[in-house]
């Protein structure tokens, strides 16, 4: 592979990485902030269930 096609490949990879990161940021933005510790609440609820 000459350096011309290698550069094109890396440009495609970098562009795809930027696209993936953008989607990741959007997903994080629209995902409720409490999702990360929701399961903790469930555990606490079960532990103290009368």
């Amino acid at each position: 592979m000459n350096f011309d096609s290698r550069d094109r490949l890396w440009i495609c990879l970098s562009g795809s990485a930027i696209l993936a990161i953008t989607l990741w940021i959007y997903w994080g933005y629209f995902r409720p902030e409490w999702k990360d510790y929701q399961s903790d609440f469930r555990d606490v609820g079960q532990a103290f269930r009368p």
């Binding site: 350096f3 011309d4 550069d7 094109r8 890396w10 440009i11 970098s14 562009g15 990485a17 930027i18 990161i21 990741w24 940021i25 994080g28 933005y29």
Partner: protein, 438 residues
């Protein structure tokens, strides 16, 4: 319509030139690209020589400028409102946390990359003049060292702006070191802070320095730096190639001359920089150089954005001069200085050796001065220009690497092994919890 078309052509360039003429035109006639040569040496394009660290620094500066301008729309440089505005940015503004995080990561990366770029130039002897006429690479090295110091200062002035505990005390430690400078120490600190303590005038001074003066100065010196690279005949690896050709006694191809040049005095860099068999060693800048710049730009942005998502910018509680964190640490790139200050503070009975003066000002001052003036002491031959770890410069390179390693080790100790009261703890030792001092 024709004028608009011409303007569009001047702002853009072709990625698929039909010939050498079109390729050259797209560089020379373009607003953004005209400072590049129409043809570029293959070695200059390679990653193994320059590692493209200079371009990466420039891309990081661009990211910092764009994200910085966005942050300026939302940030308020007042002691009462700075912290709430950053908190709003972090938690209320859409994607504000990401923009802030990207700005912070790019700033940290720029400090590291500019230092690595300086290390690359040193280790390849690229600050030395080659054989061509009118070269002045030592001056460009000095400009580069000033750019490194300005990068540190840019990052340092930005550190205070969130106005949280981390910012307040890091700047307190940093500016206290400057107090030890002989004769003018207190005055320097006063000038920096706009008073005897960090307050509203400090925040405003740091804001103006960070958002206007320092970026403008960096942009100007960057332009000068690049202009000098062109005037010095491009990358120093070209000199190495030319010298090799001379050593192999390859006779230069007779170039075309013009009668007007016959009556001018002296020689231009280009007379000396002509290579034997240029076609073998050079390629058209458009699209080879432009494509690689695009690649480096995209890769740098992708890496910075990924780090910005993974590592969120910290925001501690609002700055409080009455609550001192234990230990209070300077920003990471000044931690080697703080470590040096503590290591050179020696108390024997009533005698105290002032570490801030010895380690913080004198030692670091001598190091920076030596770094800036090194090209004028380096007496190695032109054969040591533009190549990694040449035999002739082996000792210099070792000294540089040992000093750099020493700085890295001190930074690591300061970051991970200093606990309360600046006591030393091994990484496997637990640091004690100390109640806050009010």
């Amino acid at each position: 319509m024709e004028a608009m078309k011409r303007t569009w052509q001047q702002l853009t360039w072709t990625w698929k030139p039909q010939g050498e003429r079109e390729s050259g035109d797209s560089i020379v006639r373009n607003l953004l690209l005209h400072w590049f040569p129409a043809k570029v040496n293959k070695e200059s394009l390679s990653f193994r020589y320059s590692l493209w660290l200079g371009t990466i620094s420039a891309v990081l500066f661009l990211i910092l400028s764009v994200t910085g301008v966005i942050l300026m729309f939302l940030y308020v440089p007042s002691v009462e409102r700075a912290y709430p505005s950053v908190k709003d940015l972090e938690f209320v503004v859409s994607f504000g946390g990401f923009i802030r995080s990207l700005h912070r990561i790019a700033a940290h990366l720029m400090v590291a990359v500019v230092f690595l770029h300086a290390a690359r130039v040193f280790l390849t002897g690229a600050y030395k003049n080659g054989t061509a006429a009118n070269q002045n690479r030592p001056i460009n090295w000095v400009v580069g060292v000033v750019l490194l110091l300005l990068t540190l200062l840019l990052s340092f002035t930005g550190y205070l702006l969130p106005w949280d505990q981390l910012a307040y005390w890091a700047i307190t430690v940093g500016t206290n070191i400057s107090r030890a400078a002989p004769l003018a120490g207190d005055r320097i600190r006063f000038l920096f802070l706009g008073g005897h303590e960090i307050g509203q005038s400090t925040l405003l001074r740091f804001y103006v320095l960070h958002c206007f003066f320092l970026p403008v100065l960096v942009a100007f010196l960057f332009a000068w730096h690049m202009w000098r690279v062109r005037k010095d005949g491009g990358f120093a690896c070209m000199d190495q190639l030319r010298l090799k050709q001379k050593a192999e006694r390859i006779a230069p191809i007779k170039a075309k001359t013009y009668s007007l040049l016959g009556i001018t005095r002296g020689r231009t860099v280009h007379v000396e920089t002509s290579l034997v068999n240029e076609d073998l060693h050079t390629v058209d800048s458009s699209p080879n150089l432009t494509r690689r710049i695009l690649l480096v730009t995209l890769a740098t942005f992708a890496a910075s954005a990924l780090l910005a998502v993974l590592v969120e910018a910290p925001l501690e509680e609002a700055a409080n001069p009455r609550v001192t964190p234990n230990p209070a640490k300077a920003p990471w790139y000044f931690l080697w200085l703080q470590e040096l200050v503590s290591d050179t503070t020696i108390r024997v009975g009533s005698f105290t050796l002032n570490g801030a003066l010895v380690g913080g000002v004198l030692l670091s001052g001598v190091l920076v001065l030596l770094l800036a003036l090194w090209p004028f002491f380096d007496k190695s031959s032109a054969y040591a220009v533009g190549a990694w770890f040449t035999k002739e410069r082996r000792r210099q390179n070792w000294v540089f690497l040992i000093v750099a390693l020493f700085i890295v080790i001190l930074t690591l100790i300061g970051t991970f092994m200093r606990g309360p009261y600046w006591n030393f703890y091994w990484p496997w030792e637990a640091m004690p919890e100390v109640p806050r001092r009010f």
